[in-house]
Amino acid sequence: MSDIREIRVGLATCGIAAGAQRVYEALASSLKESGLDIPIRRVGCVGMCYSEPLVDVVMANDAVTTYGNVTPEDVPRVVTEHVIGGQIVEGLCVSTESFLSRQVRIVLENCGRIDPESIDAYREQGGYAGLENMLAQMSPQDVIEMMTSSGLRGRGGGGFPTGLKWSLTEREPGAEKYMICNADEGDPGAFMDRSVLEGDPHRVLEGMAIAAYAIGAAHGIVYVRAEYPLAIARLERAILDARAAGFLGEDILGSNFSFDIKIKAGAGAFVCGEETALIASIEGRRGTPRRRPPYPSQSGLWEKPTCINNVETLANVPWIIRHSAEAFAAYGVGKSRGTKVFALAGKIKHSGLIEVPMGMSIGEIVFDIGGGILDDRPLKAVQMGGPSGGCIPAELADTPVDYEELKKTGAIVGSGGMIVLDDSTCMVDIARFFLDFTQKESCGKCTFCRIGTKRMLETLTKICDGEGSPEDLDALVDLGEKVKANSLCGLGQTAPNPVLTTARYFRDEYNAHLVDKACPAKVCKSLLRFEIDPATCKDCKLCVKDCPTGAITQGDGKYQSIDPETCVQCGRCYQVCPFGAIAIETGKVNVT
C-alpha cells in the first residue's frame, strides 16, 4: 500500500465523455472512506481513448498499472483489492504494451501523466527549464539555428520548416511583432491539439515564449476554437500560473525579454485555421483568407510581422531546446524529422491518439499500434490529413509517414487525422462525405472553391444516386484539378483531394456506380435493392409490419416480396428480419 505514489485519472474531454468524472469522484470518496491519503491526479489523455475511462495506479518505483473502461462500480474493487490488498485486479487491467511501446512521445510526453492544471507538475518534468536556459545562454539567432538544424516542420498541415518561418519573421523590421498559436483544429476526427492543450498546456506556452524570443515578439495569441472549453479553461489557468511564476509577462526571468499571451476563442469556422483567415478573425473581420504575399511574416496581425505556429509544432519546441536539435533529428527519415501525432479514428480497434517517429509506415500504425481493423475486416484505405487530405489505398499501406512520400500518393500528412476505412466503406460516398464538409466550410470568397466544390459535390451526389454517366467522372476530375490549382487558400486547394485520390485508386468503384449502377460496398442507397430469399423466409411478416412505405406485400407465391418502386431503401426490413432472409443486391437486375 505504501508503495503507491499516486493514482491518475484521465480527465481530458475523451475521458469525461466516457464517464471519467464520476470515476474520479467515486475514487476520491472511496479512498477517503478507507482513510487513505493517496494523491489522485487529474491528468490529460494518454491516447488510449478506446479504453476510457482510464485509471493508472502508479507505484513509487514508477511502475504503472492501467485500468481501462473503468466504471464507478469498479472503483471499490480497485481500492480494496489493489490499493489496500496489493493485488492487481486482473480482469480490469488493460495492457498498454502494444499501444505505447512503439510510440515515441515528445509532444505527448506528459499527456496522461501529469496534472495539466499544475505548473509544478510540468516543472517537475523539466518544464520551463528550456526557456530558462535559453534566456540565459542563447541569442534569438541561436534558437532559430537550433530549430533549423532540428528539421522541425509545421505540424498543422503545411510542413513549412519552422526555423525558416521564425527567421523570416525575425528578419522583418519593426518593434511590434506577434506570435500566434494556431489551435483552430477543425478537421472532423482530429483531436491532437485539443489533447495537448488539455493534457499539457504549459508545454505550448513555453513553446510560444521560446518562439517569441526568437522572432522578437512581445505579444502572443492562442487562437482556439470556442468548442474546446476545457482546453480554454486549462490554458487560462496555465497562463495565470506562468505569469505568476515569471515565465510570462514583463522582463521574464530578469532577461529583459517581455512576452505575454492572450486567448482568442474562434467561432468554429474551418477556414479560420488558414493563417490569413485566422488573422482576419482575430482582427474582428470576417474570417476569409487573403492573397499571399504579403506573408504573415511580412504583414500579419494588424499589419505587423507575425509568426503563426500550430499547437503540435510549438509543443515540440521545449523538448528540442532541452534535448538538442540532434536528439530530435535522430528520429524520422529524409526531410521529415522528429515525430508526428496522429488521431486514429474510423474502423480501427484502438482509436485514439498516438505519436510515432516520422517514417513509420501507415500499415504499422494501423495494425501494430492501432490493433488492426474492427471485426478483423480487410483494410480498404486510410483517409490521411482530414477532410481535405486524400485516401491512401490498402495496397499503399507501406507508404511511410513522410511529407514528400505522402504527397506522391496524392494525400498529405496534414494535421494528423487518420481515418481508417474497411471494405464496408463506399469510396464514392466517402469522397462525397468529405467534400460535403469542405464545400460547406468554404468561406465563399473565391469562385473555384465556392462554386467549384459545390458543383463537384452535386456530381458526386448524382453518381451516388446512380444518375451519373462515365463522362461525369472525367468532368469531375477535370473540375477537381482546376479547383485544386486555382483556389485562393489551402482549403480550396486541398478540398478536391479525397475525390481525386479515390478517383485515382478506386476508379473501378466509380465505374461500378456509373456503368453498372452498382455500389459494391452496398452503401449508396439509391443503388440498392432489398430482396427476400423465399428459401430462408419464414413468412413471419415482421418486415411487412416495419416497412414504412408498404413496399412489402404478398408476392406471386406464398412469401412476401418487396416492390422496388415503392421501396425507399431504408433497410429496416434487413434489420428486423430474424432469419437473415433479406438480401441486399446492387447493380442492374440480371435479366434471365
Partner: protein
C-alpha cells in the same frame, strides 16, 4: 525592371501587379473582382495569365519580377478563365435579355417598349418598336406574338399584351418619322415588297443607304396586303406605314417582275448590293380527280382578289380544305361574302396549325369544322361542282413532324355538298425567276442563304424571308430582312459580315415562386365587334387599348431583362471567350430581387460575390454599410445582421452600383417602372453644392433618366445622384403662368412676357432682383443686367449671405484637387451631410497616398487624429501656435493644407483661418464654397443686401418667399415675377411665373471648389428654352440694350471663365433655392 508581356518587352515598376502593368500598357485582361481603387481581392479567378516557370497565376495579385515572361491569352490561361466564368455563370440567376425579346424572331425589345408605355412614355416606346419592327401598326395587329408565349407572366396568369402594346404605340405615334442615317452614296436593290423586303429597305435607310424596292404587284406589302384580310389588317394601315417608308426616302417600284422585267444579275450590275425577299407565293395542289374544275380555287388567289377589292359572288356552300391560317382567312372571307362555310381538315383540332383565337373566332362567325376529313375527289356534274368526296381519318403513328399521322378509315367515304372549294394546303417557294442566275437553291427552290446575315453564294446578293425558310410567320421575315440589312451595311462599309457571338444568360425552370407570385391582374379585354355584326363587312373588328388601358396592361410586365445588359462585364467576358451557361450546370440559389432601398435595386441572384460593392463602400466611401454573410455557396452580400439595406449606415451614394460588374446592383432611373435602355451620357457639372462634382447626365433621346459620376470611379452624394429623381415631373413648371385672382393660370410666352415686362417697368426704380447660388455666370450676368436696367442695384442672393473680409494671395487658395499635393490635411469643422461621402472618399484617397489627416469636429474614417473643434479654437487663439499639438504637426509637415466647408464654419473662424494661413508661407487653404457658383456670382456683383424698400421682386431660381429675411417683406411688395423650375413658396405668391430649366438642361459656367466648369445640357428636359434664353427674352421685353443675342457673346460678356484659380477668398454663401429645398425635403422623407 523589364518584363515581356505577350511578346513585347515593357518597363515594369517594382512591386507592381501584373494586372496593373497590363492596364498601363493597354493590354486588356478580363477581371471581375479587381479594380484600380481597391487592393487585390483575388477571388474571381478570371484575371489569370500564364507566367513562364510559374504556370497560370492570377494577374491581380502576382507581382512582376525581373525578366518575367507573361502571356495573357495562352491556351492554359484561357482554359482556366473560361472555367472561372462558366462556374460563375452556373450560379448566376438572371436573364441578360428578357425572354420575350429572346423569343421574337426580329429581336424586338418588347420589355423596353412595354415598360416605357407603363411609364406613359409612348413616343419613346414607339421608337424602341421601330428599332426592330418597321411596320408596327400592322404587326401590332397580325403578329402571332411568340413574345407572349415566352412571357414569364404566363407562369402566373395570362401573358402581358405585348402585341396590343405595339399596336397602341403605333396608333399613337402617327406623326413620328423614324430617322435616316447620314447618306453613304450606296444604293441597294430590294426585290419583294413584303415584310422581308420592307424591313431590309427600312434598316438600310437607317444605315444611310439608298434603297429601291421592286415588286411585281401593283402595291407594296406582299402577303400583308394580298394575303391578310382587311378585317384583320385594314389596307389603310398598311398604306399609312408604307407612307412612313416612302417619307424616309425609300423608292417603290411596283409592277416590276424579276426574271421578266429585270434580272438579278442586272440588279447586281446597277446596285451596290441586292436583297431578295421574294416570299413564298407558289401554291400546292392536291392532285385529286376533279381538282382542275373551275370552282376549285387556290385560297391565296381568292384572298388576293378579295384584298384587291373584288367581292366575288360565291355559291351557297363553300368548303375550305386545310387547317392553317390561310384556311382560316379564306373561310372567314367566304363567310363575309355570304356563303355557308365548312373547313375540312385531315387531323384533329389540337394539331391544327392555325392560331387558336382564329379558330374560335371563325367558329363564332359560323364556320363549320370537319376534322379528320380527307378529300379524295371533287365531284362535278358538267359545269357545276356538286360536292367533295371525303374519307374519314383516324390518328396512327407519329410522323416526321411528331404529330400522329392520319390514316384513312376503310369504308368511311362520304360526300360534303359544295359548289366551290378553296384549297389552302400550303404555299411553296417559286424561284423559277432566278433560273440562270448563279445562286444556290435548295431542292424545294429555296435560296440558300446564311440565317444570321442573309448571305448567298453571290457576294453582293443577300436573301431572307419565306424565299429562304419556306412559309413562316411575317415577323420571321422582318427579322431576316433586318439582319440582312445590317449585314449589307457591314458589307458596304467593308467590315466583316459575320455576326459576332453575344452571350446571353437565361433563367431555366422559372416557377411562380421565382417570379414573386405577382398579384392577380388579368389581361385587359379589348372590345371586338360581335360575330353576327362583323360578318356583314370587311371592316376591322378588334379595337386597340386606350391610354389608360395601355399603361395598366404594361404595368403587368415583370421586368425580366437585366438593367446592366449593355454594361455587364460578366456578359462581355463570357462573350469574348464564348462561354457556355451549362458547362457546370447545378442548383442555382434563386435569390430574389430586393427593392426596399429607395434608389438602389439589388438583383441578388446575379451577385458573383466579387466583393467590389463591399470594398468600395468600406475603402473608397468610408461607409461600410454592407458585408458578406453566409459561407460556401450561401455567401451573399448583406447589410450586417441581415437588416434591410436602408436601415444600414448606407448614405445612398450609389458607389456600389458603379462598382458592380454585373446587374446585381443598379440604381433607379427617374422612371417609375425600370426599363433596360441604352442611354446617352453627357458630361457636365453638378451644381447642388459648391463641390461641383463631375457628373454624367444619362438620357434617353434627350429625356433625363439618371445621373452617374463622370469618370465612373469618383463618388457622388445622394443629393447629386438621386436628388433629381425626387423632384418628379408633377412639381415641374412647364408653361408660363399668370395670376388670375387667387390662382395661377397657364399663359402663352407672349402674354406672360408682356405682363411681366409691364409690371416690372411700372415698378422701375423700386425693384429687387434675386438670384440663387445655382445660377450660371451667364444667367447671373443677365440678372444683373436686368436689375441694373430696372434701377434695382445689385441683385441679391436669396438669403443673408456673408463674406470674409480678409484676402490672401490667390496661389494660396487651392482648388480641391490641391489636396493631392498636401502631406498634412487639417479638416476644420464638420462636413455638410450631403458632401460628407464625397469629401471622405477624397480624403481616403489622400490617406492611402500617405497624407496625414487631422480633423477638428468631424469623424473622418482612418484619420490620423480626431480632435474637438474647441481645440482648434485654442490653436487659433494661442499666441505661440507652434507649441500646440497642431502647431507641432504643422511644423513637421512640408505642405500642410487647411480644408473647410464654407457653409459649416462661422464667419469669424473663416477670417481667423485666412489670417493664420496668410501669415505662414507654406500653408494653403482649400475650401468648399457654399453653393455651386457662389464665386462667379460674387464677381458679377451679387450681394447679400436685401433692398427692403422694393415694391417689385424679380426672383430667378430663388425662393425669397421661403426665407426668413424675405418672408417679412413679402407683404410690402405688389409685383412678383419668378423664374423657377418647380413650384415653390415664391411661385405661389408670384404674379407671373416662367418655367426654368434645371441645371442639367441648360448651358453656362459655374465656379466652385474645382474651379470654373462649363455646364452642358445633358437632357432636353420638358422645356424648349434654356434659362439664359428666357432671361434674354425678358431683358428684350424690358428694352434693355444692347444684349448679346448668342450664347458665346453672352459668355464673353459674363467674363466668368476663370483665369486665376479660385480667386481671392471673396465668395459669398447662399442657401440653395427651391430646387435644393425640394430635393432635400424629399430625400429627408426617404430617410437619407
Amino acid at each position: 525592371m523589364r518584363v515581356r508581356i505577350n511578346g513585347n518587352e515593357v518597363q515594369a515598376r517594382d512591386g507592381e501587379m501584373i494586372l496593373d502593368l497590363a492596364r498601363r500598357e493597354n493590354i486588356d485582361i478580363p477581371a471581375l473582382c479587381a479594380e484600380e481603387r481597391l487592393d487585390p481581392f483575388d477571388s474571381c479567378g478570371v484575371c489569370v495569365v500564364e507566367v513562364e516557370g510559374k504556370g497560370v497565376v492570377k494577374s491581380c495579385s502576382t507581382p512582376v519580377e525581373d525578366n518575367m515572361v507573361i502571356l495573357t491569352k495562352s491556351p492554359a490561361a484561357e482554359e482556366v478563365r473560361k472555367a472561372a466564368l462558366e462556374l460563375l455563370l452556373s450560379n448566376h440567376w438572371g436573364d441578360c435579355v428578357a425572354p420575350c425579346r429572346m423569343a421574337c424572331p426580329a429581336s424586338t425589345d418588347c420589355q423596353a417598349y412595354v415598360s416605357l408605355a407603363a411609364n406613359g412614355r409612348f413616343l419613346d416606346g414607339l421608337k424602341i418598336v421601330y428599332q426592330n419592327i418597321p411596320l408596327p401598326a400592322s404587326f401590332g395587329r397580325i403578329c402571332p406574338a411568340p413574345c407572349e408565349d415566352a412571357c414569364r407572366r404566363e407562369i402566373a396568369e395570362e401573358p402581358v399584351q405585348i402585341r396590343h402594346m405595339k399596336r397602341f404605340l403605333a396608333d399613337q405615334g402617327l406623326d413620328y418619322l423614324p430617322p435616316v442615317g447620314a447618306p453613304t452614296g450606296k444604293h441597294v436593290a430590294i426585290v419583294g415588297g413584303g415584310p422581308a423586303g420592307l424591313s431590309a429597305a427600312f434598316y438600310l435607310r437607317q444605315h444611310g443607304h439608298d434603297a429601291t424596292i421592286f415588286d411585281a404587284m401593283p402595291a407594296m406589302g406582299g402577303m400583308l396586303r394580298y394575303g391578310i384580310p382587311e378585317y384583320r389588317l385594314p389596307q389603310s394601315v398598311i398604306d399609312r406605314e408604307l407612307d412612313v417608308l416612302r417619307r424616309m426616302g425609300i423608292t417603290f417600284r411596283n409592277g416590276v417582275r424579276l426574271g421578266e422585267d429585270v434580272s438579278c444579275s442586272q440588279l447586281e450590275g446597277e446596285f451596290d448590293a441586292v436583297f431578295l425577299g421574294l416570299g413564298a407565293w407558289g401554291v400546292r395542289g392536291m392532285g385529286l380527280p376533279g381538282e382542275d374544275h373551275s370552282a376549285v380555287i387556290q385560297g391565296t388567289d381568292f384572298l388576293r382578289r378579295v384584298n384587291e377589292g373584288e367581292r366575288p359572288t360565291l355559291p351557297e356552300h363553300v368548303v375550305i380544305i386545310g387547317g392553317g391560317n390561310t384556311a382560316m382567312d379564306a373561310a372567314r372571307c367566304a363567310r363575309r361574302l355570304g356563303s355557308d362555310v365548312t373547313v375540312a381538315y385531315r387531323r384533329t383540332v389540337d394539331q391544327m396549325p392555325a392560331l387558336e383565337h382564329e379558330v374560335v373566332e371563325a367558329e363564332d362567325e359560323g364556320v363549320v369544322f370537319q376534322y379528320l376529313t380527307q378529300p379524295v375527289e371533287f365531284l362535278a356534274d358538267g359545269e357545276a361542282l356538286q360536292g367533295i368526296r371525303c374519307v374519314k381519318m383516324e390518328l396512327g403513328e407519329p410522323d416526321a413532324s411528331g404529330r400522329r399521322r392520319p390514316v384513312p378509315v376503310e369504308g368511311s367515304e362520304f360526300v360534303i355538298e359544295a359548289q366551290a372549294a378553296l384549297l389552302a394546303v400550303g404555299q411553296t417557294i417559286d424561284t423559277s425567276c432566278l433560273k440562270g442566275e448563279q445562286l444556290e437553291l435548295a431542292r424545294n427552290g429555296a435560296i440558300l442563304a446564311d440565317e444570321a446575315t442573309g448571305r448567298t453564294a453571290r457576294d453582293k446578293v443577300f436573301a431572307g424571308g419565306d424565299v429562304v425558310t419556306g412559309p413562316a410567320i411575317a415577323v420571321d421575315a422582318v427579322g431576316a430582312g433586318h439582319r440582312a440589312a445590317d449585314a449589307i451595311n457591314r458589307f458596304l462599309r467593308g467590315e466583316t459580315i459575320e455576326v459576332p457571338f453575344v452571350y446571353s444568360h437565361e433563367k431555366y425552370g422559372v416557377t411562380r415562386d421565382d417570379i414573386g407570385n405577382p398579384a392577380t391582374s388579368p389581361r385587359i379585354r379589348t372590345a371586338a365587334r360581335n360575330a353576327t355584326d362583323r360578318i356583314n363587312d370587311f371592316a376591322e373588328y378588334e379595337s386597340g387599348l386606350d391610354d389608360e388601358e395601355a399603361v395598366a396592361a404594361a404595368q403587368r410586365c415583370l421586368e425580366c431583362g437585366c438593367m446592366a445588359f449593355d454594361s455587364c462585364a460578366l456578359r462581355d467576358y463570357s462573350t469574348a471567350i464564348k462561354a457556355e451557361q451549362t458547362t457546370y450546370e447545378g442548383d442555382v440559389p434563386r435569390r430574389k430581387r430586393d427593392e426596399r432601398h429607395p434608389f438602389i435595386i439589388r438583383k441578388v441572384g446575379k451577385c458573383i460575390a466579387c466583393g467590389r460593392c463591399v470594398r468600395v463602400c468600406a475603402d473608397v466611401c468610408g461607409v461600410s454599410a454592407i458585408d458578406f454573410s453566409g459561407r460556401g455557396i450561401e455567401t451573399e452580400v448583406q447589410v450586417p445582421f441581415n437588416r434591410a439595406w436602408q436601415d444600414s449606415t448606407c448614405v445612398s451614394c450609389g458607389a456600389c452600383v458603379d462598382a458592380c460588374p454585373t446587374g446585381a446592383l443598379y440604381d433607379r432611373t427617374v422612371l417609375e417602372k425600370q426599363v433596360p435602355l441604352e442611354l446617352e451620357g453627357i458630361s457636365t457639372t453638378c451644381v447642388l453644392c459648391g463641390l461641383g462634382c463631375e457628373i454624367e447626365v444619362q438620357s434617353l433621346d434627350g429625356a433625363y433618366m439618371r445621373t452617374t459620376p463622370a469618370d465612373g470611379s469618383s463618388v457622388l452624394c445622394a443629393r447629386g445622384r438621386y436628388g433629381w429623381h425626387t423632384l418628379g415631373s408633377e412639381k415641374r413648371i412647364t408653361t408660363p403662368l399668370i395670376r388670375s385672382g387667387s390662382a395661377l393660370r397657364e399663359a402663352s410666352w407672349r402674354e406672360a412676357l408682356h405682363e411681366a415686362g409691364k409690371r416690372l417697368r411700372d415698378a422701375k426704380g423700386s425693384v429687387a432682383a434675386f438670384g440663387t447660388g445655382l445660377l450660371t455666370c451667364e444667367e447671373g450676368w443677365l440678372v444683373a443686367r436686368i436689375a441694373k436696367g430696372l434701377g434695382a442695384g445689385a441683385p441679391v442672393f436669396d438669403v443673408n449671405a456673408w463674406r470674409a473680409q480678409t484676402e490672401i494671395a490667390e496661389e494660396r487658395i487651392l482648388p480641391i484637387e490641391g489636396l493631392s499635393e498636401a502631406d498634412l490635411i487639417v479638416m476644420i469643422g464638420p462636413r455638410s451631410s450631403h458632401s460628407k461621402v464625397v469629401l471622405d472618399s477624397l480624403l481616403l484617397q489622400e490617406i492611402a497616398r500617405g497624407a496625414h489627416v487631422i480633423s477638428y469636429g468631424a469623424d473622418i474614417p482612418r484619420a490620423t487624429a480626431e480632435r474637438g473643434i474647441s481645440e482648434f479654437g485654442e490653436f487659433l487663439s494661442t499666441a505661440h501656435q507652434g507649441q500646440t499639438l497642431l502647431g507641432q504637426d504643422l511644423t513637421a509637415a512640408k505642405r500642410p493644407v487647411f480644408l473647410l466647408e464654407e457653409s459649416e464654419v462661422s464667419r469669424n473662424v473663416l477670417e481667423e483661418i485666412a489670417e493664420t494661413v496668410a501669415q505662414n508661407p507654406t500653408w494653403s487653404l482649400v475650401f468648399v464654397p457654399a453653393t455651386a457658383n457662389a464665386i462667379g456670382l460674387r464677381r458679377l456683383g451679387f450681394s447679400e443686401q436685401l433692398r427692403t424698400s422694393a415694391k417689385a421682386w424679380l426672383a430667378v431660381g430663388a425662393d425669397p418667399a421661403a426665407m426668413v429675411a424675405g418672408r417679412q417683406h413679402l407683404l410690402n411688395i405688389d409685383t412678383l415675377v419668378a423664374l423657377s423650375p418647380v413650384r415653390s413658396a415664391t411661385t405661389q405668391r408670384a404674379d407671373v411665373v416662367f418655367p426654368m430649366a434645371l441645371p442639367y438642361e441648360t448651358r453656362g459656367h459655374v465656379i466652385g471648389a474645382r474651379g470654373p466648369k462649363m455646364l452642358t445640357p445633358g437632357a432636353r428636359g420638358l422645356l424648349e428654352e434654356e434659362t439664359w434664353e428666357v432671361l434674354l427674352r425678358l431683358a428684350g421685353e424690358l428694352k434693355i440694350e444692347p444684349l448679346p443675342w448668342h450664347f458665346d457673346a453672352l459668355s464673353e460678356a459674363a467674363k466668368c471663365e476663370d483665369r486665376s484659380g479660385l480667386g481671392g477668398l471673396t465668395s459669398a454663401g447662399a442657401t440653395p433655392a427651391s430646387i435644393t429645398v425640394n430635393i432635400d425635403a424629399r430625400l429627408h422623407s426617404l430617410g437619407i
